[in-house]
Protein backbone atom coordinates (compact mmCIF):
# COMPACT_ATOMS: atom_id res chain seq x y z
CA UNK A 1 0.00 0.00 0.00
CA UNK A 2 2.81 2.42 0.95
CA UNK A 3 6.34 1.87 -0.32
CA UNK A 4 9.37 4.12 0.35
CA UNK A 5 12.57 3.35 -1.54
CA UNK A 6 15.75 5.23 -0.55
CA UNK A 7 13.79 8.41 0.16
CA UNK A 8 15.77 11.49 1.14
CA UNK A 9 14.37 14.88 1.99
CA UNK A 10 16.35 18.04 2.65
CA UNK A 11 15.28 21.25 4.35
CA UNK A 12 17.81 24.03 3.70
CA UNK A 13 20.60 21.47 3.01
CA UNK A 14 19.72 19.71 6.30
CA UNK A 15 18.51 16.12 5.68
CA UNK A 16 15.19 15.44 7.43
CA UNK A 17 15.03 11.92 5.94
CA UNK A 18 18.08 9.95 4.83
CA UNK A 19 17.63 7.18 2.32
CA UNK A 20 14.55 5.75 4.07
CA UNK A 21 13.19 2.43 2.80
CA UNK A 22 10.14 0.60 4.15
CA UNK A 23 6.81 -0.89 3.10
CA UNK A 24 3.39 -0.94 4.72
CA UNK A 25 0.86 -3.52 3.58
CA UNK A 26 -2.79 -2.89 2.85
CA UNK A 27 -4.95 -3.07 6.01
CA UNK A 28 -1.96 -2.80 8.35
CA UNK A 29 -1.78 -0.53 11.37
CA UNK A 30 1.76 0.69 12.01
CA UNK A 31 3.43 3.15 14.32
CA UNK A 32 6.31 5.47 13.54
CA UNK A 33 8.06 6.61 16.64
CA UNK A 34 11.07 8.65 17.58
CA UNK A 35 12.03 11.89 19.30
CA UNK A 36 10.86 15.32 18.19
CA UNK A 37 12.57 16.40 14.97
CA UNK A 38 13.45 12.81 14.03
CA UNK A 39 11.55 13.05 10.71
CA UNK A 40 8.16 11.47 11.58
CA UNK A 41 6.06 14.40 10.34
CA UNK A 42 8.17 14.77 7.20
CA UNK A 43 7.58 11.12 6.42
CA UNK A 44 3.80 11.58 6.75
CA UNK A 45 3.90 14.81 4.73
CA UNK A 46 5.54 12.93 1.88
CA UNK A 47 2.75 10.32 2.02
CA UNK A 48 0.00 12.95 1.79
CA UNK A 49 2.00 14.87 -0.82
CA UNK A 50 2.52 18.02 1.18
CA UNK A 51 6.25 17.57 0.58
CA UNK A 52 8.16 16.08 -2.34
CA UNK A 53 11.12 13.79 -1.74
CA UNK A 54 14.43 15.09 -3.10
CA UNK A 55 15.70 11.57 -3.82
CA UNK A 56 14.20 8.11 -4.01
CA UNK A 57 10.79 6.76 -4.94
CA UNK A 58 7.47 6.64 -3.15
CA UNK A 59 4.54 4.50 -4.23
CA UNK A 60 1.09 4.92 -2.65
CA UNK A 61 -1.60 2.43 -3.63
CA UNK A 62 0.19 1.80 -6.95
CA UNK A 63 0.53 5.53 -7.67
CA UNK A 64 4.19 6.35 -8.35
CA UNK A 65 4.48 9.82 -6.82
CA UNK A 66 7.40 10.83 -9.04
CA UNK A 67 5.20 10.32 -12.11
CA UNK A 68 2.07 11.85 -10.62
CA UNK A 69 0.72 14.94 -12.39
CA UNK A 70 0.05 17.89 -10.11
CA UNK A 71 -3.58 17.95 -11.21
CA UNK A 72 -3.96 14.34 -9.94
CA UNK A 73 -2.80 15.18 -6.41
CA UNK A 74 -6.29 16.09 -5.12
CA UNK A 75 -7.66 12.73 -6.24
CA UNK A 76 -4.90 10.81 -4.48
CA UNK A 77 -5.37 12.91 -1.34
CA UNK A 78 -9.03 11.88 -1.24
CA UNK A 79 -7.80 8.35 -0.60
CA UNK A 80 -5.73 9.53 2.35
CA UNK A 81 -7.35 10.76 5.55
CA UNK A 82 -5.06 12.87 7.70
CA UNK A 83 -5.27 13.65 11.41
CA UNK A 84 -3.11 16.76 11.51
CA UNK A 85 -0.97 17.55 14.53
CA UNK A 86 -2.31 21.14 14.55
CA UNK A 87 -5.88 19.91 13.82
CA UNK A 88 -6.49 22.41 10.96
CA UNK A 89 -10.10 22.91 12.00
CA UNK A 90 -12.03 25.82 10.50
CA UNK A 91 -12.88 28.02 13.48
CA UNK A 92 -15.65 29.91 11.72
CA UNK A 93 -17.59 26.71 10.85
CA UNK A 94 -19.44 24.41 13.18
CA UNK A 95 -18.46 20.80 13.77
CA UNK A 96 -20.91 19.48 11.18
CA UNK A 97 -19.45 21.77 8.49
CA UNK A 98 -15.88 20.94 9.52
CA UNK A 99 -16.54 17.27 8.84
CA UNK A 100 -18.84 17.87 5.86
CA UNK A 101 -16.20 19.85 3.98
CA UNK A 102 -14.34 16.63 3.14
CA UNK A 103 -17.50 15.41 1.36
CA UNK A 104 -18.35 18.73 -0.28
CA UNK A 105 -14.89 18.67 -1.86
CA UNK A 106 -15.84 15.29 -3.33
CA UNK A 107 -18.99 16.83 -4.83
CA UNK A 108 -21.56 14.96 -2.75
CA UNK A 109 -25.12 16.28 -2.49
CA UNK A 110 -26.37 18.00 0.67
CA UNK A 111 -28.78 15.23 1.65
CA UNK A 112 -26.09 12.54 1.28
CA UNK A 113 -23.70 14.68 3.32
CA UNK A 114 -26.27 15.28 6.08
CA UNK A 115 -26.86 11.57 6.79
CA UNK A 116 -23.28 10.44 6.42
CA UNK A 117 -21.72 13.18 8.57
CA UNK A 118 -24.19 12.52 11.39
CA UNK A 119 -23.34 8.82 11.16
CA UNK A 120 -19.60 9.55 11.45
CA UNK A 121 -20.15 12.00 14.32
CA UNK A 122 -22.00 9.19 16.09
CA UNK A 123 -18.96 6.91 15.67
CA UNK A 124 -16.68 9.50 17.29
CA UNK A 125 -19.37 10.23 19.89
CA UNK A 126 -19.83 13.87 18.92
CA UNK A 127 -23.29 13.83 17.39
CA UNK A 128 -24.57 16.12 20.14
CA UNK A 129 -21.86 18.68 19.31
CA UNK A 130 -22.71 19.00 15.61
CA UNK A 131 -23.77 22.64 15.95
CA UNK A 132 -20.90 23.67 18.25
CA UNK A 133 -17.83 25.53 17.10
CA UNK A 134 -14.27 24.12 17.45
CA UNK A 135 -13.13 26.67 20.03
CA UNK A 136 -15.88 25.59 22.42
CA UNK A 137 -14.63 21.95 22.38
CA UNK A 138 -12.00 20.29 24.56
CA UNK A 139 -8.70 19.07 23.05
CA UNK A 140 -9.95 15.48 22.99
CA UNK A 141 -13.20 16.47 21.31
CA UNK A 142 -11.36 18.53 18.71
CA UNK A 143 -9.10 15.55 18.05
CA UNK A 144 -12.18 13.39 17.45
CA UNK A 145 -13.59 15.99 15.04
CA UNK A 146 -10.34 15.81 13.06
CA UNK A 147 -10.56 12.00 13.03
CA UNK A 148 -14.19 12.24 11.87
CA UNK A 149 -13.16 14.56 9.05
CA UNK A 150 -10.29 12.22 8.11
CA UNK A 151 -12.47 9.09 7.89
CA UNK A 152 -15.75 10.56 6.55
CA UNK A 153 -14.54 10.15 2.96
CA UNK A 154 -13.76 6.45 3.62
CA UNK A 155 -10.07 6.72 2.71
CA UNK A 156 -7.95 3.63 2.13
CA UNK A 157 -5.14 5.15 4.24
CA UNK A 158 -5.42 7.05 7.51
CA UNK A 159 -2.42 9.05 8.72
CA UNK A 160 -2.24 10.48 12.22
CA UNK A 161 0.48 12.89 13.32
CA UNK A 162 0.88 12.87 17.13
CA UNK A 163 -2.83 12.20 17.62
CA UNK A 164 -2.62 12.10 21.40
CA UNK A 165 -0.07 14.90 21.80
CA UNK A 166 -1.92 17.01 24.36
CA UNK A 167 -4.47 14.54 25.63
CA UNK A 168 -4.89 12.98 29.06
CA UNK A 169 -4.28 9.19 29.26
CA UNK A 170 -8.00 8.24 29.28
CA UNK A 171 -8.81 10.38 26.23
CA UNK A 172 -5.68 9.06 24.50
CA UNK A 173 -6.81 5.50 25.14
CA UNK A 174 -10.23 6.34 23.64
CA UNK A 175 -8.58 7.79 20.52
CA UNK A 176 -6.38 4.68 20.17
CA UNK A 177 -9.46 2.44 20.39
CA UNK A 178 -11.02 4.51 17.63
CA UNK A 179 -7.99 3.98 15.37
CA UNK A 180 -8.16 0.23 16.00
CA UNK A 181 -11.83 0.18 15.03
CA UNK A 182 -11.08 2.14 11.85
CA UNK A 183 -8.25 -0.27 11.04
CA UNK A 184 -10.55 -3.23 11.69
CA UNK A 185 -12.76 -1.95 8.84
CA UNK A 186 -9.83 -2.43 6.43
CA UNK A 187 -8.25 1.03 6.46
CA UNK A 188 -4.46 1.15 6.51
CA UNK A 189 -3.49 3.25 9.54
CA UNK A 190 -0.13 4.97 10.05
CA UNK A 191 0.37 6.75 13.36
CA UNK A 192 3.38 8.96 14.08
CA UNK A 193 3.85 9.31 17.82
CA UNK A 194 6.43 9.61 20.53
CA UNK A 195 3.91 8.29 23.07
CA UNK A 196 5.09 4.78 23.97
CA UNK A 197 1.77 3.96 25.65
CA UNK A 198 0.05 4.16 22.29
CA UNK A 199 1.87 1.20 20.70
CA UNK A 200 2.95 -0.77 23.77
CA UNK A 201 1.45 -4.27 23.62
CA UNK A 202 -0.39 -3.35 20.41
CA UNK A 203 1.04 -6.31 18.48
CA UNK A 204 1.63 -3.92 15.54
CA UNK A 205 4.82 -3.03 13.68
CA UNK A 206 6.66 -0.05 15.07
CA UNK A 207 9.28 1.81 12.99
CA UNK A 208 11.81 3.63 15.11
CA UNK A 209 13.14 6.75 13.40
CA UNK A 210 15.99 8.96 14.55
CA UNK A 211 17.82 11.79 12.85
CA UNK A 212 16.12 10.99 9.54
CA UNK A 213 17.04 7.29 9.55
CA UNK A 214 14.89 4.26 10.31
CA UNK A 215 16.99 2.79 13.09
CA UNK A 216 14.79 -0.13 14.03
CA UNK A 217 11.61 -2.09 13.47
CA UNK A 218 9.85 -4.03 16.22
CA UNK A 219 6.49 -5.39 17.21
CA UNK A 220 4.83 -3.23 19.85
Amino acid sequence: MIHFSNVTKFYEKQAALKSVTFSIEKGEMVFITGPSGAGKSTLLKIIYLSEKPDEGNVTIAEWDLSKLKESSIPFLRRNIGVVFQDFRLLDNRNIFDNVAIALRIRGLLDREIQDWVMEILKIVNLRHKADSFPRTLSGGEQQRVVIARAIVGEPTILLADEPTGNLDPDTAAGITRLFKEINARGTTVVIATHNRELYKNSGRRVFRIDNGNIVGEEIG
Binding site: Y48, L49, S50, E51, K52, E70, S71, I73, P74, F75, R77, R78, V82, F84, R88, L90, I101, A102, R104, I105, R106, G107, L109, D110, R149, G153
Partner: protein, 292 residues
Amino acid sequence: MYLLYSFRLAIQSLWREKWINLLSVLTIAAGLFMSTLTFFVVYNIDLATKKLPASFSVMLYLNDGLSEQEIGNIIAQLKKNNAVEQARYITKDKALQELKGVLKNADYILEGLGENPLSASIEIKLQTESVNIASVKKIAEEIKKIKGIAEVEYGEKFLNSLHSIKGAAKAGSLSLISIISAGVIFVCYSTIKIAFYRRKEEIETFKLLGATRGFIRAPFVIEGSVLGIFGGLASTAAAFAFYYVLFYKVTAAIPILKILVFPFEIFPALPVAGLLLGIGGAVIALGRIRFS
Protein backbone atom coordinates in the same frame (compact mmCIF):
# COMPACT_ATOMS: atom_id res chain seq x y z
CA MET B 1 -21.89 19.39 -7.53
CA TYR B 2 -19.99 21.89 -5.44
CA LEU B 3 -21.19 24.97 -7.32
CA LEU B 4 -24.01 25.64 -4.88
CA TYR B 5 -21.56 25.41 -1.98
CA SER B 6 -19.16 27.75 -3.83
CA PHE B 7 -22.00 30.27 -4.22
CA ARG B 8 -22.69 30.01 -0.50
CA LEU B 9 -19.00 30.60 0.32
CA ALA B 10 -18.84 33.54 -2.09
CA ILE B 11 -21.95 35.20 -0.66
CA GLN B 12 -20.69 34.68 2.92
CA SER B 13 -17.35 36.25 2.00
CA LEU B 14 -18.97 39.15 0.14
CA TRP B 15 -21.19 39.85 3.14
CA ARG B 16 -18.32 39.55 5.65
CA GLU B 17 -16.35 42.22 3.77
CA LYS B 18 -19.38 44.20 2.67
CA TRP B 19 -17.89 47.70 3.03
CA ILE B 20 -14.71 46.90 1.09
CA ASN B 21 -16.82 45.19 -1.54
CA LEU B 22 -19.23 48.12 -1.74
CA LEU B 23 -16.27 50.41 -2.31
CA SER B 24 -15.00 48.07 -5.05
CA VAL B 25 -18.44 48.02 -6.72
CA LEU B 26 -18.60 51.83 -6.69
CA THR B 27 -15.07 52.10 -8.10
CA ILE B 28 -15.92 49.64 -10.87
CA ALA B 29 -19.14 51.56 -11.55
CA ALA B 30 -17.26 54.86 -11.77
CA GLY B 31 -14.75 53.34 -14.19
CA LEU B 32 -17.43 51.86 -16.41
CA PHE B 33 -19.42 55.12 -16.35
CA MET B 34 -16.34 57.06 -17.49
CA SER B 35 -15.95 54.53 -20.31
CA THR B 36 -19.61 55.13 -21.19
CA LEU B 37 -19.08 58.89 -21.44
CA THR B 38 -15.99 58.37 -23.59
CA PHE B 39 -17.90 55.99 -25.84
CA PHE B 40 -20.79 58.48 -26.05
CA VAL B 41 -18.47 61.23 -27.33
CA VAL B 42 -16.74 59.01 -29.88
CA TYR B 43 -20.07 57.52 -30.99
CA ASN B 44 -21.38 61.00 -31.83
CA ILE B 45 -18.19 62.09 -33.60
CA ASP B 46 -18.37 58.92 -35.65
CA LEU B 47 -22.03 59.52 -36.51
CA ALA B 48 -21.29 63.08 -37.56
CA THR B 49 -18.48 61.98 -39.86
CA LYS B 50 -20.64 59.22 -41.31
CA LYS B 51 -23.29 61.78 -42.25
CA LEU B 52 -20.67 63.89 -43.98
CA PRO B 53 -20.44 62.07 -47.36
CA ALA B 54 -24.07 63.00 -48.15
CA SER B 55 -23.30 66.73 -47.94
CA PHE B 56 -19.75 66.56 -49.29
CA SER B 57 -19.18 67.77 -52.82
CA VAL B 58 -16.33 68.68 -55.13
CA MET B 59 -16.66 71.88 -57.15
CA LEU B 60 -15.16 72.07 -60.67
CA TYR B 61 -14.88 75.61 -62.03
CA LEU B 62 -14.97 75.73 -65.83
CA ASN B 63 -13.11 77.92 -68.27
CA ASP B 64 -15.17 80.70 -69.77
CA GLY B 65 -16.61 80.32 -73.24
CA LEU B 66 -17.10 76.54 -73.35
CA SER B 67 -19.71 75.30 -75.79
CA GLU B 68 -22.62 73.10 -74.63
CA GLN B 69 -21.02 70.15 -76.41
CA GLU B 70 -17.74 70.68 -74.56
CA ILE B 71 -19.59 70.87 -71.23
CA GLY B 72 -21.52 67.72 -72.16
CA ASN B 73 -18.23 65.96 -72.91
CA ILE B 74 -16.79 66.98 -69.55
CA ILE B 75 -19.88 65.62 -67.70
CA ALA B 76 -19.72 62.40 -69.72
CA GLN B 77 -16.03 61.96 -68.80
CA LEU B 78 -16.79 62.63 -65.12
CA LYS B 79 -19.57 60.02 -65.07
CA LYS B 80 -17.16 57.41 -66.41
CA ASN B 81 -15.34 57.65 -63.07
CA ASN B 82 -16.79 55.01 -60.72
CA ALA B 83 -16.29 57.23 -57.67
CA VAL B 84 -18.59 59.92 -59.08
CA GLU B 85 -22.21 59.39 -58.07
CA GLN B 86 -23.72 62.57 -59.44
CA ALA B 87 -22.62 65.58 -61.55
CA ARG B 88 -24.68 68.80 -61.66
CA TYR B 89 -23.93 71.61 -64.10
CA ILE B 90 -24.32 75.14 -62.67
CA THR B 91 -24.45 77.96 -65.19
CA LYS B 92 -22.95 81.38 -64.48
CA ASP B 93 -26.47 82.80 -64.01
CA LYS B 94 -27.54 80.05 -61.66
CA ALA B 95 -24.36 80.52 -59.61
CA LEU B 96 -25.21 84.22 -59.26
CA GLN B 97 -28.80 83.40 -58.27
CA GLU B 98 -27.58 80.94 -55.64
CA LEU B 99 -25.15 83.54 -54.29
CA LYS B 100 -27.98 86.08 -54.06
CA GLY B 101 -29.99 83.47 -52.20
CA VAL B 102 -27.17 83.02 -49.72
CA LEU B 103 -26.67 86.79 -49.24
CA LYS B 104 -30.45 87.41 -48.88
CA ASN B 105 -30.91 91.04 -47.71
CA ALA B 106 -27.25 91.85 -48.30
CA ASP B 107 -27.46 91.26 -52.08
CA TYR B 108 -26.85 94.99 -52.68
CA ILE B 109 -23.15 94.06 -52.46
CA LEU B 110 -23.44 92.57 -55.95
CA GLU B 111 -25.12 95.65 -57.49
CA GLY B 112 -21.91 97.41 -58.54
CA LEU B 113 -20.33 94.40 -60.19
CA GLY B 114 -21.79 94.89 -63.66
CA GLU B 115 -20.91 91.73 -65.58
CA ASN B 116 -21.43 88.37 -63.77
CA PRO B 117 -17.96 87.57 -62.34
CA LEU B 118 -18.77 83.99 -61.39
CA SER B 119 -17.63 80.96 -63.38
CA ALA B 120 -19.85 78.20 -64.62
CA SER B 121 -19.19 75.08 -62.56
CA ILE B 122 -19.97 71.40 -62.07
CA GLU B 123 -20.78 70.11 -58.60
CA ILE B 124 -20.01 66.43 -58.18
CA LYS B 125 -21.12 64.11 -55.37
CA LEU B 126 -18.91 61.14 -54.67
CA GLN B 127 -19.78 57.60 -53.64
CA THR B 128 -19.80 57.34 -49.81
CA GLU B 129 -16.76 55.04 -49.71
CA SER B 130 -14.74 57.54 -51.77
CA VAL B 131 -15.16 60.40 -49.29
CA ASN B 132 -11.74 60.16 -47.67
CA ILE B 133 -8.61 62.23 -48.06
CA ALA B 134 -6.68 59.82 -50.26
CA SER B 135 -9.52 59.09 -52.71
CA VAL B 136 -10.71 62.67 -52.98
CA LYS B 137 -7.17 63.90 -53.65
CA LYS B 138 -6.66 61.26 -56.34
CA ILE B 139 -10.02 61.99 -58.00
CA ALA B 140 -9.34 65.75 -57.92
CA GLU B 141 -5.99 65.23 -59.65
CA GLU B 142 -7.58 63.07 -62.36
CA ILE B 143 -10.36 65.59 -62.92
CA LYS B 144 -7.92 68.48 -63.19
CA LYS B 145 -6.51 66.85 -66.32
CA ILE B 146 -9.84 67.11 -68.15
CA LYS B 147 -9.72 69.85 -70.76
CA GLY B 148 -11.91 72.85 -69.92
CA ILE B 149 -11.65 72.62 -66.12
CA ALA B 150 -10.00 75.69 -64.62
CA GLU B 151 -9.98 74.78 -60.93
CA VAL B 152 -11.00 71.99 -58.57
CA GLU B 153 -12.02 72.75 -54.99
CA TYR B 154 -12.97 70.21 -52.33
CA GLY B 155 -12.14 71.73 -48.92
CA GLU B 156 -8.87 69.85 -48.42
CA LYS B 157 -8.14 71.49 -45.08
CA PHE B 158 -11.60 70.73 -43.75
CA LEU B 159 -11.35 67.08 -44.81
CA ASN B 160 -7.87 66.83 -43.27
CA SER B 161 -8.93 68.28 -39.90
CA LEU B 162 -12.06 66.15 -39.80
CA HIS B 163 -9.99 63.06 -40.44
CA SER B 164 -7.51 64.09 -37.73
CA ILE B 165 -10.29 64.77 -35.20
CA LYS B 166 -11.92 61.40 -35.94
CA GLY B 167 -8.59 59.56 -35.67
CA ALA B 168 -7.57 61.35 -32.48
CA ALA B 169 -10.98 60.79 -30.88
CA LYS B 170 -10.86 57.06 -31.72
CA ALA B 171 -7.27 56.60 -30.53
CA GLY B 172 -7.86 58.69 -27.40
CA SER B 173 -11.04 56.89 -26.46
CA LEU B 174 -9.48 53.48 -27.08
CA SER B 175 -6.54 54.37 -24.83
CA LEU B 176 -8.82 55.81 -22.16
CA ILE B 177 -11.18 52.80 -22.20
CA SER B 178 -8.18 50.44 -22.08
CA ILE B 179 -6.72 52.28 -19.07
CA ILE B 180 -10.11 52.32 -17.31
CA SER B 181 -10.60 48.60 -18.05
CA ALA B 182 -7.17 47.85 -16.62
CA GLY B 183 -8.16 49.90 -13.57
CA VAL B 184 -11.39 47.94 -13.14
CA ILE B 185 -9.48 44.65 -13.47
CA PHE B 186 -7.00 45.91 -10.86
CA VAL B 187 -9.81 46.78 -8.42
CA CYS B 188 -11.27 43.26 -8.79
CA TYR B 189 -7.77 41.76 -8.58
CA SER B 190 -7.02 43.58 -5.31
CA THR B 191 -10.36 42.76 -3.73
CA ILE B 192 -10.08 39.06 -4.57
CA LYS B 193 -6.41 38.94 -3.57
CA ILE B 194 -7.30 40.33 -0.12
CA ALA B 195 -10.13 37.79 0.23
CA PHE B 196 -7.76 35.01 -0.88
CA TYR B 197 -5.08 35.95 1.68
CA ARG B 198 -7.69 36.25 4.40
CA ARG B 199 -8.74 32.65 3.70
CA LYS B 200 -5.25 31.30 3.03
CA GLU B 201 -5.30 28.87 5.98
CA GLU B 202 -8.71 27.55 5.02
CA ILE B 203 -7.58 27.09 1.40
CA GLU B 204 -4.50 25.17 2.53
CA THR B 205 -6.77 22.84 4.53
CA PHE B 206 -9.06 22.41 1.52
CA LYS B 207 -6.05 21.43 -0.60
CA LEU B 208 -4.89 18.86 1.95
CA LEU B 209 -8.38 17.37 2.05
CA GLY B 210 -8.33 16.82 -1.72
CA ALA B 211 -9.93 19.96 -3.14
CA THR B 212 -9.36 20.50 -6.86
CA ARG B 213 -8.31 23.83 -8.38
CA GLY B 214 -11.90 24.32 -9.55
CA PHE B 215 -13.26 23.89 -6.02
CA ILE B 216 -10.77 26.42 -4.63
CA ARG B 217 -11.19 28.94 -7.43
CA ALA B 218 -14.97 28.83 -7.86
CA PRO B 219 -15.99 30.98 -4.83
CA PHE B 220 -13.44 33.67 -5.74
CA VAL B 221 -14.43 33.73 -9.40
CA ILE B 222 -18.07 34.02 -8.28
CA GLU B 223 -17.07 36.89 -5.96
CA GLY B 224 -15.28 38.66 -8.84
CA SER B 225 -18.32 38.10 -11.10
CA VAL B 226 -20.71 39.51 -8.49
CA LEU B 227 -18.51 42.59 -7.95
CA GLY B 228 -18.27 43.08 -11.73
CA ILE B 229 -22.00 42.62 -12.39
CA PHE B 230 -23.02 44.95 -9.56
CA GLY B 231 -20.44 47.51 -10.72
CA GLY B 232 -21.90 47.14 -14.23
CA LEU B 233 -25.48 47.56 -12.99
CA ALA B 234 -24.55 50.63 -10.96
CA SER B 235 -22.84 52.16 -13.99
CA THR B 236 -25.95 51.34 -16.08
CA ALA B 237 -28.02 53.29 -13.57
CA ALA B 238 -25.55 56.19 -13.78
CA ALA B 239 -25.58 56.05 -17.60
CA PHE B 240 -29.40 56.10 -17.59
CA ALA B 241 -29.37 59.11 -15.26
CA PHE B 242 -26.91 60.84 -17.62
CA TYR B 243 -29.14 60.06 -20.62
CA TYR B 244 -32.25 61.34 -18.82
CA VAL B 245 -30.64 64.58 -17.65
CA LEU B 246 -28.98 65.31 -21.01
CA PHE B 247 -31.89 64.47 -23.30
CA TYR B 248 -34.84 65.59 -21.16
CA LYS B 249 -33.45 68.46 -19.09
CA VAL B 250 -30.37 69.95 -20.77
CA THR B 251 -31.78 69.82 -24.33
CA ALA B 252 -34.77 71.83 -23.13
CA ALA B 253 -32.36 74.64 -22.30
CA ILE B 254 -29.89 74.05 -25.18
CA PRO B 255 -31.93 72.69 -28.14
CA ILE B 256 -28.88 72.26 -30.41
CA LEU B 257 -27.83 69.30 -28.25
CA LYS B 258 -30.82 67.41 -29.69
CA ILE B 259 -28.53 66.44 -32.57
CA LEU B 260 -26.68 64.14 -30.14
CA VAL B 261 -27.57 60.44 -30.19
CA PHE B 262 -27.34 58.15 -27.16
CA PRO B 263 -26.02 54.61 -27.87
CA PHE B 264 -28.68 52.55 -26.08
CA GLU B 265 -26.77 49.31 -26.73
CA ILE B 266 -24.45 50.42 -23.91
CA PHE B 267 -27.11 49.60 -21.28
CA PRO B 268 -26.96 45.77 -21.57
CA ALA B 269 -23.24 45.90 -22.44
CA LEU B 270 -22.20 47.47 -19.12
CA PRO B 271 -23.14 44.55 -16.78
CA VAL B 272 -21.61 42.12 -19.29
CA ALA B 273 -18.40 44.18 -19.40
CA GLY B 274 -18.41 44.33 -15.58
CA LEU B 275 -18.86 40.55 -15.40
CA LEU B 276 -15.99 39.86 -17.81
CA LEU B 277 -13.64 42.33 -16.12
CA GLY B 278 -14.60 40.92 -12.69
CA ILE B 279 -13.85 37.36 -13.81
CA GLY B 280 -10.60 38.56 -15.41
CA GLY B 281 -9.48 40.28 -12.20
CA ALA B 282 -10.35 37.20 -10.10
CA VAL B 283 -8.54 34.79 -12.41
CA ILE B 284 -5.39 36.96 -12.42
CA ALA B 285 -5.55 37.31 -8.61
CA LEU B 286 -5.80 33.53 -8.09
CA GLY B 287 -2.93 32.75 -10.43
CA ARG B 288 -1.71 29.18 -10.57
CA ILE B 289 -2.79 27.10 -7.59
CA ARG B 290 -0.11 24.65 -6.54
CA PHE B 291 -0.64 21.49 -4.55
CA SER B 292 2.88 20.73 -3.41
